[in-house]
Symmetry: C2
Subunit: 247 residues, 2 copies
DNA sequence: CGAGTTATTGACAATGCTCAAAGTACGTGG
DNA sequence: CCACGTACTTTGAGCATTGTCAATAACTCG
């Protein structure tokens, strides 16, 4: 009995250690030595899964942790006075959440689970301290932030120059690439976000999202059924997303 | 003779040291002890001024330095295949340029001087190493990057939700605030960027920028003459930029 | 199974873009 | 210092893309 409990306990610990985590090659400790991974592991806190719709952090709450997504997905929504929300990001497994709160020491948006989602909680002050002793960790942190800036700049381009069709095509091919990178199918996946979320993120009305998805289907680019997506012609989508005309 | 040369040399050194720099309260070493400022100072390289239109860095060039603007201003322009450029940022004195190149080890855009501009060049590997020994410097670096992410998210909101009028109003009041923070007039300044640059940045056609600036003038919000701007009603501009209707 | 949310579809309107042309500022060289 | 060429800015007219409003259809989950 005690043996079984212990075994269960140990296996639970094991499955929640960075070294055995399937995301280790994508996540923050990706470049670390074994010893360093252990040190990093020691400051990480595992959390109970979030249910769909639950908030991981609330806008304006004091900043103290960053989070790495283990499974599921989240959205970040910033509300301004006037009730118009802006969805600024979707987060998938291995991605780091909360880095935009460092500066003002508050989280700049609500982070909401789109489905059942588990995250690792990483106290930022300890991460910062550890990054002093582990240069590789510091590098990785700088890289994550730098990448986030670059991604946002891509998004600026999307919002300022792309047509509605190009935006949807970008969105789908980018999701496809992100899933592929994580070992999932690049051609067949389920959207965890609503059409309204997609529209909000892409700067389009829900109706436009719906219409264009319909059109893509007619054009045999994708097969969409509710939130289930099958990509039929990834190349064409990618071309479209870069503004190349299609026949 | 030798004395004079030495004196000149020393004074030139003095005027280009962080401790005597008028931007020290806004720039990277803002929170450091005197000793640490000296250590930071030692890795900073001063550069000959850039002339208007000159490139500080070219897109895709290998990343090695970040830069702090000392005087003047710059724009960042990313070109994608297909010749459509996206202007992603304007940089004013004390701001840090190049942080978005860390991740890919290439600069993601051309950085072009909008007028005669001087910058401090900071080798990133040395900055990184120094940030190991000076926690306050590391904190400041994280903050700068975090702020850049937050600013970009604000920009996403602007591009995805704001009307052309709101965008221009945001642009002007944001510039006003940035000048004020740097000790310049918040009400009277000269735009170093062209209407085309503004339009590109805000996701608008040049013609729209011109028309709306004209309308703002009719409405007595600003007085614009070429690139010279006088803000007549900052409150109204700020209200407008948040989408509040105006009479 | 039914209430509420989410998605689709249609008709119409508006904001901002494109194209075109003229006017103005700028800077370079004579 | 002025003249000229170039680049930048303004203004007008028509139009396209996408948003808004409205109604219906399809899920989702107690």
């Amino acid at each position: 009995m005690a043996d079984t409990a212990l075994a269960t306990h140990r296996s639970r610990l094991l499955e929640t250690r960075c070294q055995t985590c399937s995301l280790s090659s994508l996540c923050l400790p990706l470049a670390l030595e074994l010893d360093d991974i252990d040190r990093f592991d020691a400051i990480v806190r595992r959390r109970a899964p979030l249910k769909k719709g639950e908030a991981l952090v609330r806008q304006h709450a004091p900043f103290s942790n960053v989070f790495a997504v283990r499974s599921g997905s989240l959205k970040q929504v910033s509300s301004e006075s006037g009730g118009d929300d802006q969805l600024t990001n979707f987060y998938l497994p291995s991605e780091l959440v909360g880095l935009d709160g460092i500066d003002e020491e508050r989280y700049p948006g609500n982070i909401i689970a789109l489905e059942t989602t588990t995250v690792c909680e990483i106290p930022f002050d300890r991460l910062d301290a550890l990054s002093e002793r582990i240069p590789g960790l510091r590098t990785q942190l700088f890289r994550s932030m730098s990448k986030e800036i670059r991604d946002d700049r891509q998004m600026l381009r999307l919002l300022s120059r792309k047509t509605a069709d190009e935006r949807l095509a970008s969105f789908l091919s980018s999701l496809s690439a992100r899933f592929r990178r994580r070992g999932y199918s690049a051609y067949s996946f389920r959207l965890s976000m609503s059409r309204a979320d997609i529209g909000n993120y892409l700067g389009l009305a829900v109706e436009t999202v719906s219409r264009i998805l319909g059109r893509f289907q007619e054009q045999q680019l994708v097969a969409v059924s509710g939130r289930e997506v099958n990509i039929l012609d990834l190349e064409a989508l990618e071309a479209l997303s870069e503004g190349e005309v299609h026949g």
